[in-house]
């Protein structure tokens, strides 16, 4: 018998999130006038490898943006650990945090709101360099910015124009150029194409894929569009009401979903093909996403799940591995 090819020793993850909780305070007053708090994220764990895209999916309020912000250290974790390039950065502060931030950048959803309308494109792209003290004047970085604008596919005369002179897709390119200015290894892209039209969306998705290949970037790609996520991601994680219910390799997750919520979610996405779409079976569960301030005991999907048993109402299931790299949090699947 032939020996199996020895497995490559797995490269250490670029980012490792372990048991992350994030707590927000609500405006409401609780007992004794203490502000009420709720857990927007509970026990979130995942790894992201160099050059990899992890798609993070979930419905509105499920905690996608919160996850991105916690990883970038823009909000504080109330429990758990965030390890970046082998270092525990959960509590990094001051100068060390500033240095760290150079290496992790954010691309926003709204290309209109996220760019200061009074700044020229060149100043917008140079801003991160100035803020981090890498240059003292825009002129020092002119060549670099020209190169960045070329890479993201903006016209050469874009430098001195203001954001309003650009279309949505072009503004998103400016946002990406800004994020790339500091040569980060890791980018959190929070719904980067949701506000764009279909034809323009493809331009930006292609650009992000090219940049990844050329520069070896890792992406945490947040979106609620499951079709775009399938296209761009290597692995995909599904959030429901602040918990991760399933994570797997892209095709494994889309072709063989295990968690009842993932199954319903995938079945609800319409496919742009009338024949296929008419034959697809939709799994529609009634009910709504639970209120995070008073979440149900046990599994958060138990209020809608047809498979729920007594155990589900008492105890929250943890992620467990079902096949290599495919983790699911469910008692009955």
């Amino acid at each position: 018998m032939l020996n199996p090819v020895p497995a490559q020793p797995p490269a250490p993850p670029l980012l490792s999130v372990q048991g992350l909780d994030v707590t927000y305070e609500t405006g409401a007053q609780g007992f004794w006038g203490r502000p009420k708090a709720f857990k927007a994220l509970e026990d979130i764990s995942f790894d992201l490898h160099p050059g990899e895209t992890l798609g993070l999916v979930g419905e509105s309020g499920s905690g996608k943006t919160t996850t991105g912000r916690a990883v970038l250290r823009r909000i504080t974790a109330s429990a758990g650990k965030i390890v970046f390039q082998g270092k525990d950065i959960t509590h990094t502060k001051g100068e060390a945090l500033r240095k760290l931030r150079r290496n992790m950048q954010l691309v926003f959803q709204d290309p209109y709101a996220s760019l200061n309308p009074r700044m020229r494109v060149i100043d917008l792209v140079a801003e991160p360099l100035l803020v981090h003290g890498l240059i003292r004047h825009v002129d020092e970085a002119r060549d670099r910015i020209t190169e960045l604008l070329r890479i993201v596919g903006l016209p050469a005369d874009a430098h001195d124009r203001f954001p309003h002179a650009f279309s949505g897709g072009q503004r998103q390119r400016i946002g990406i150029a800004r994020a790339l200015a500091l040569q980060p290894e890791f980018i959190v892209a929070d719904e980067p194409v949701s506000a764009l039209d279909v034809s323009v969306r493809a331009q930006v998705v292609n650009l992000m894929q090219d940049l990844q290949r050329e520069l070896g970037l890792s992406y945490l790609f947040i979106a609620h569009d499951l079709s775009v996520v399938r296209h761009i991601s290597h692995r995909v994680a599904i959030l429901y009401a602040g918990r991760m219910v399933e994570i797997a390799d892209r095709d494994d997750l889309y072709d063989h979903p295990i968690h009842p919520y993932t199954e319903a979610l995938l079945s609800a996405v319409p496919v742009p093909d009338p024949r296929t779409q008419r034959q697809r079976k939709r799994i529609v569960y009634g009910g709504e996403i639970p209120d995070l301030v008073n979440p149900p005991a046990g599994c958060r999907f138990s209020t809608r799940c047809p498979l729920a048993t007594e155990q589900c109402h008492k105890e929250a299931p943890k992620l467990s591995e079902r096949s290599a790299g495919h983790l699911v949090a469910c008692w009955n699947r």
Partner: protein, 342 residues
């Protein structure tokens, strides 16, 4: 599902060569540049196209909602064969709008009054259009909420819009729209603001109502998947014009216009993995000074000398029309890396 629902007699709604202009500071925006479409009884027409292509303006024109700085510059809109324009037409339009033809908007929060109870808001429609008494209207409102799948409808009547979730508000909007048993429902992006599982519920509701009430539906959306699931026919808009129309199955299977071809190939699919999406470079033209000739010229891989003259929407098959000099020619090659990388 029968597809040729428009085969009997006069169509319900006809829009003919409609031009709508907006007099803005930037200049005269040509929002609609000659739109022609029709919809038959029991038929569902999907209208797709990117932002600014004229989908909402078309719906607004039908509903009489074009306000200054906008105006209908030319063309006609007919309901059951009678014009809705001109002074006679406007009187007729007042009778039928809200009653025989009703509309659902994208954002229910802006169309519901936040300080009025849901029951009061639905009741008002019934009292105004159908002359019901308050008690009758309340009973009917409860039935309508039940019909759109809201549980405990009696109790819900006394709640305010903010006590409803986004999906429930959209159900309320649909309940109000079908209150007078309209023949045509125009839904402008009714599910765009909703999560997919809620979107699926609303689309299912629309399909059910369409069947049970024999409704005609115009569904405006930029989600091609939504059209695929629900519509018999589809009209694709670009830069204020319809550039392709036909049976949904045909248009999705053999798109004729290069823009439609590109649109379908630039949309990732849940059930397929592709290495790379087609990307239609560039952006739609400015509607203050639209290009002479075909409006897709600047972005079209097939564009040539002939395209400097505007193509008309013409039959390419018995049930399909396209506005292109070279219809049904494959326009997009398998895409390579972005040109920005050497």
């Amino acid at each position: 599902m029968s597809v040729s629902a428009n085969s009997t007699g006069t169509p319900l709604l006809e829009v003919e060569k409609l031009k709508v202009e907006f007099d803005t500071r930037r200049g005269l925006v040509q929002g609609l540049r000659g739109v022609t479409l029709s919809i038959g009884r029991g038929e569902t027409l999907g209208v797709v196209g990117e932002s600014g292509s004229g989908k909402s303006v078309t719906a607004q024109a039908v509903m009489g909602l074009i306000d200054l700085p906008g105006r209908i510059a030319s063309g006609d809109i007919r309901w059951k064969g009678r014009s809705l324009l001109g002074s006679d037409g406007e009187r007729y339009a007042r009778d039928i709008r809200g009653k025989e033809v009703a509309m659902v908007f994208q954002d229910p929060m802006t169309s519901l009054n936040p300080v009025l109870k849901i029951g009061t808001q639905i009741g008002e429609v019934l009292e105004r259009h159908l002359g019901m008494t308050r008690a009758q209207a309340r009973n009917r409102a409860e039935e309508l909420l039940a019909a759109v799948g809201i549980s405990a409808p009696g109790r819900r009547l006394d709640q305010y819009p903010h006590e409803f979730s986004g999906g429930m508000r959209q159900r309320v909007m649909i309940a109000m729209a079908i209150a007078c048993e309209p023949e045509l429902l125009i839904a402008d992006e009714p599910t765009t603001a909703l999560d997919v599982t809620i979107q699926a519920q609303i689309l299912e509701l629309l399909a059910e109502l369409q069947q049970s009430l024999g409704l005609s539906v115009v569904l405006i959306t930029h989600d091609l998947g939504v059209v695929a699931g629900l519509c018999h026919r589809v009209a694709v808009m670009y830069a204020g014009q319809i550039i392709e129309t036909g049976l949904a199955e045909d248009v999705f299977e053999r798109p004729a216009h290069p823009y439609t071809q590109g649109l379908l190939r630039s949309t990732p699919r849940l059930d397929e993995v592709s290495d790379r999406l087609v990307s239609i470079e560039g952006t739609p033209p400015n509607l203050v000074t639209p290009p002479e000739g075909c409006s897709f010229q600047q972005r079209c891989p097939l564009s040539g000398e002939a395209c400097r003259k505007a193509p008309k929407l013409e039959h390419i098959r018995p049930d399909a029309e396209a506005a292109c000099w070279r219809p049904s020619v494959p326009a997009w090659a398998t895409p390579l890396m972005s040109p920005t990388f050497p």
